[in-house]
Amino acid sequence: MNQIRDKYAIVGVGESKRSKNSGTTPLHLALDAARAAIADAGIDAKEIDGFMSYCENDSCSPHQLATYLGVRPNYVKEILGGGSSTEMLIADAVGLIETGQAKTVLIYRSMNGRSGVRMGGGGWSSDLLQSAFEGGSHIIPYGAASPSQWFGLFATRHMKQNGLTQEHLGHVCTSFYEHAQRNPNAFFYGKPLTMEDYLKTAQLSSPFTKHDFCLESDEANAIIVTSAERAKDCQSKPAYIMGMAARRAVSHAHYWKNIDEVASDYVAKPLYEAAGVGPQDIDIASIYDCFSWVVLRQLEAYGLAPKGEVGDFVAAGNLKIDGQLPTNLAGGMLSEGYTHGMNNVLEIVRQVRGEYEGTERQAKKHDIAICTGWAGPDMAGAMILRK
């Protein structure tokens, strides 16, 4: 692979309003997010010549978005995807810029994730679900249709084998909720969670309570990627991309044969090699958090906490803003909002920049950051950024 370390940067981030019922279309939301990211970068919309998005057939097309920004880009691309798609599209954008096919690329995720198509299910045809997933006929008839059940199967075994408890899941939740109390735009701003309350909450599907599930929200997020050279002309502080590794797959997305193996395990090595740093160099993190346990498993996969000691690591408060690895500092998908991971990307860029300097929201040391995506045990992607 060509050496791309520090040659590309995220130069703009932006979001639409976040709500439970936007009362508008994903196109309107995407336009709001794109305009905010463009303003943040301080560029003209017409400087963007590539538009990319991921969706679950619940969004607007990049072509539409470009059209209503008054831009006629060289390149548009829309993929089906969720967790880790942001990292993968950034990798694609870098490839396009590196080969001279585009100069500046805007990537977005827009969804009425609460009032429209909900990831948590509801209203889907069972026959459709059976065909939509690899091996679907072998799980849907048994009532296993929610990601909480699929990931719960991994969690049960992993937790039992590694001495992880309900309280350890609770530490992930309470840490992220604590961050949300400093973020007025978070869904759970003003709704702190104590360990006592967490442990009193009933499970919806073991080992997860409602607090262990991510939120569902209506919103759009956008980021702008360009070369380090062009980044100099932007008004924002660039977040340089040190390295990426995207989507190492393991077999069978939804039928689990080897529950001890997840794709993130395979992303870590090429990621750190590309970035030229190791887990010990990471100051802050955005860890994909569709469920609390997914955070624990990724801390282990990316070597951010030693295997077998992940529980102690989170119990010691290390995910909090004054801990060893301040993580998901806007509240994450557990308590801020949910755009299939992109809201965590926005926050890590802002932290790396030091945008909250002078407030209690800024992590003290923010030179090098990791941002991970988890589509499931089957697919993952991650990147490392620096200021």
Partner: protein, 144 residues
């Protein structure tokens, strides 16, 4: 007008596809068959259009009979139905079961009649077949 007294099965019925039909046909006969790759001797479950291990198309179906036992590899207990039809089945136990005679094969099912307290990794179970319609049956598990 004839009064309809039969209770309809409200849960999803396994969809037979070009790749999995022999598995479900056997289930309807209360038997377990597994797809096997004769190139690398790996069992493929769930079955597919080619071997997921080596890509070979040399696939056969091997009858495992009717006396199938295993142990729980992992499980969840759901306290809310995530699909229509399961309202009366909660708490619902969903388990991944490792077959005793082929530990590489894991088969997902419900553990019928089991409570959360009775379950752990390694708990022994055996396969039973639940008649869900006149001509369809679903492989399931019960505590051994």
């Amino acid at each position: 007008m004839i009064e309809e007294t039969k209770v309809e099965y409200a849960k999803p019925i396994p969809l037979k596809t070009i790749d999995n039909a022999p598995y479900w046909d056997a289930a309807d006969r209360h038997e377990l068959v597994l797809q096997k790759c004769t190139s690398c001797n790996t069992y493929a479950h769930p079955p597919g259009p080619a071997c997921a291990h080596c890509g070979s198309q040399e696939l056969v179906w091997e009858n495992q009979g009717t006396d199938i036992s295993g142990t729980i590899y992992t499980y969840v207990v759901s306290y809310r139905p995530f699909l229509p039809g399961f309202e009366n089945d909660v708490p619902l136990v969903i388990a991944v079961v490792e077959l005793d005679h082929l530990p590489d094969v894991k088969i997902i099912g419900n553990v019928l009649g089991a409570t959360a307290e009775q379950l752990d990794i390694g708990t022994p179970v055996k396969m039973v077949w639940q008649d869900i319609t006149e001509d369809r049956a679903l492989p399931q598990w019960t505590l051994a």
